[in-house]
């Protein structure tokens, strides 16, 4: 082997050590960068040279800069992120509104129903007494106001979730566009192995998509990522579709663009948007329950009230009104003729309307235990079941979200243990590459001295 070959071998060592320091520096710089996967120098023995009968070593070659990654572990973490975000979002949307139904035991929808019937009972002491009649009207107003405000708050919460979902789609589309662009750049750069930084950015975008819409990904042979939303390919190669949330119809939808128009992908969406959709659906169910209560309760009260007579001897009118556009629960209010009109309460059973005639009052009180809601439930029982349902849903989401968060933490920890930058490891590598560089430099220096010696001969 010649001294010049030795110089080349020494140089290969210098290059490898220098690359190692560069990679270590890159790792340390990105230790706190989200989505960064630790790099490593892929060193290999350089192809030996033939010198007569001998094969002489040619030093080290760098095959590339590897990226610590495991597709299976990454996919697990991504799926776990989507599930966790879904449940966390649904819980976060519903937990703040459960107090609308019962802020503490006794103050809520059931409480105002019972208070209304208790006011009617108190009126039996003197059905003609204006203060007791006014108390009945006040409790009726409280009941209507509570149902109405609960319904309005639920509608507002629904709108907020849908506005947020629509706004989230901007970020989703940006990520889809970014992944498509990265696919194109990675192909140009020679694939994910040689474009590790691009692959990291792409994986981060994929993670964001999993969290936002529950998208999944599989990688093609050329290293590009195909992003799927259920059965719809939203990114394929360098092409990205658009995703939008449509809140204009009766129920909100997630739509994916296609060559033939918008496709409904609602049932396939996951992640944050699924959480928002699920929260919206739960709230819609509760609103439907409140509508049924408002409709049936007001109908039963009004019908019975109409069978009685007020203080003037006139037949009773409606106590509650649900007329108007929109939901019955949002419209529930005291009938206009009843406002500030305690004498209009039809407690009497006969048109003579004697002061103490409480025959119809007794019948109104009897509605407390009658199955007036849906023909199967009393008003109080119906509200108790609604409160229980709200509690069960929110508690269930809390437990599920906590469980999913724990699964995600484990998945992320496993992923991080493989891909993250351990500063102690990098410090050790730095020392190692520094020593290797110094040793290679020494080889070159020694070889150079030997060459100098040769040059001085003669």
């Amino acid at each position: 082997m010649s001294l010049l070959s030795s110089l080349r071998v020494g140089h290969s060592g210098l290059s490898a050590a220098s690359a190692g320091v560069d990679v270590t520096s890159h790792n340390v710089s990105n230790a706190a960068t989200p989505g960064f996967s630790r790099r490593r120098v892929e060193q290999a023995i350089a192809d030996p040279l033939r010198r007569g009968p001998q094969w002489i070593g040619a030093g080290v070659r760098i095959d590339g800069i590897g990226r610590a990654a495991d597709g299976l572990i990454a996919r697990r973490a991504t799926l776990a992120a989507g599930t966790s975000k879904n449940l966390e979002t649904a819980y976060g949307a519903l937990q703040p509104i459960e107090s609308l139904f019962e802020s503490e035991a006794g103050r809520g929808l059931r409480g105002v129903v019972d208070a209304f019937f208790n006011a009617l009972s108190a009126a039996t002491t003197d059905p003609a007494d204006r203060s007791r009649r006014s108390a009945v009207l006040k409790s009726a107003t409280d009941l209507a106001d509570t149902v109405q405000s609960t319904a309005k708050s639920l509608e507002t919460a629904q709108d907020e979730q849908m506005e947020a979902a629509v706004a989230d789609m901007n970020g989703v589309n940006e990520d889809l566009t970014e992944i498509a662009a990265l696919n194109a750049r990675m192909i140009a750069a020679g694939g994910p192995l040689t474009a590790g930084d691009l692959a990291d950015r792409r994986d981060l975008a994929i993670r964001r998509l999993a969290e936002s819409i529950g998208a999944t990904v599989h990688f093609e042979g050329d290293g590009t990522a195909t992003v799927m939303l259920g059965g719809h390919a939203v990114v394929s190669g360098a092409e990205a579709r658009q995703v939008t949330a449509d809140a204009t119809g009766a129920t909100p939808r997630v739509l994916v663009s296609s060559d033939s128009g918008w496709l409904d992908a609602t049932s396939e969406a996951g992640g944050e948007v699924r959480g928002r959709l699920d929260a919206w659906t739960e709230m819609e169910g509760w609103l439907t329950d409140l509508d049924a209560f408002a409709t049936d309760f007001s109908a039963a009260l009004n019908t019975q009230h109409s069978a009685g007579f007020d203080r003037t001897g006139a037949a009773g009118g409606n106590v509650f009104d649900i007329g108007g556009t929109g939901r019955a629960s949002v419209n529930l209010r005291l009938d206009a003729a009843m406002v500030d009109a305690p004498d209009a309460l039809a407690f009497a059973g006969a048109a003579t309307a004697a002061a103490g005639d409480g025959v119809n009052l007794a019948a109104l009180i009897g509605l407390h235990d009658d199955p007036i809601i849906g023909g199967t439930r009393s008003a109080g029982t119906y509200m108790t079941e609604l409160v229980g349902d709200v509690g069960a849903v929110v508690a269930g989401l809390q437990y599920s979200a906590e469980g999913a968060a724990a699964v995600l933490e484990d998945a992320d920890a496993l992923h991080a243990s493989l891909t993250s930058v351990d500063l102690d490891e990098e410090a050790t590598n730095l020392l190692m590459f520094q020593a290797a560089y110094q040793a290679a430099a020494k080889v070159i220096q020694t070889t150079d001295q030997m060459l100098q010696t040769l040059m001085e001969i003669g």
Partner: protein, 291 residues
Amino acid sequence: MEPVRRNPLLSAERNALRLLRMKEQLAKAEDKATTGLAVTRPSDAPGAWSPIHRLQQSIADIETWAANATQGATLVDTAEEALASGSDILKMVRERAIQFANETYSTRDRLIGADEIDALKQQLIDVANTHLGDRSVFAGTAYDGAAYDALGNYLGNSDRPEVEIGKDQRVPTGLDGQAVFQGAVDVFATLDALAAAMRADDTTSIRNLLPDVTTAFDSLVSWREELGFHQVRLADAQAADTSLEKLALEEQIGADPASTYAELMGLRTAYEAALQVSGTASGAKLFDFIR
């Protein structure tokens, strides 16, 4: 086997999240300790709202009925006292009737006796017009007016006002004056006839009217007995105790002080320990030791 890598910067982020969760749990435990309530929202006890609401309704109902019974008891007591006065008046009427049925009394005596009967009749009309506040006790449900006019004509109706003191339980708080004073026998007509018989010096008619006076007296006694029965029911409703229901409710929604305190102390200790560990764990790195 790959070593487990630890990035202290990412670990710090995870620790921060864990500390946040612990803080939330601590806040909830502190809420429980300060309010004494373990159940403050639907998700705290999703399956327990049926018994909780049932107990709350029961307590509210009992308290409403007790208040109703207090109002009703005042009216019933007033009616009973009025009937006691009425009984006393009829006793005096009976004494006069027995007295002036005796032949030893003169026509002039019977004329004076007739005036006394007229006066007693007016007193009885006043009794029949007993009011509590502006509410007539013997006018049926038409209690916003007088029960009788000055001549003893009934102005009320035959219905009886009732107050609710329990589930499907009602107690009358007023009487139909006509049934009381003109039911078994028309006491005012009897007194008119008695006064007329005295003025006519007709001892036979006076004697013949004695059974009617006795019947009227017995009728008032009977009505007083009925009112006594209602007074007992009203007193029971007033005295109804909700302490058992409140105890049961407390068991459903209250936070046990001992276990709440223990939970709070446990969480505080765990939180402080986690804070200390977080601080230590993000400490030494090899880079700190390299020249």
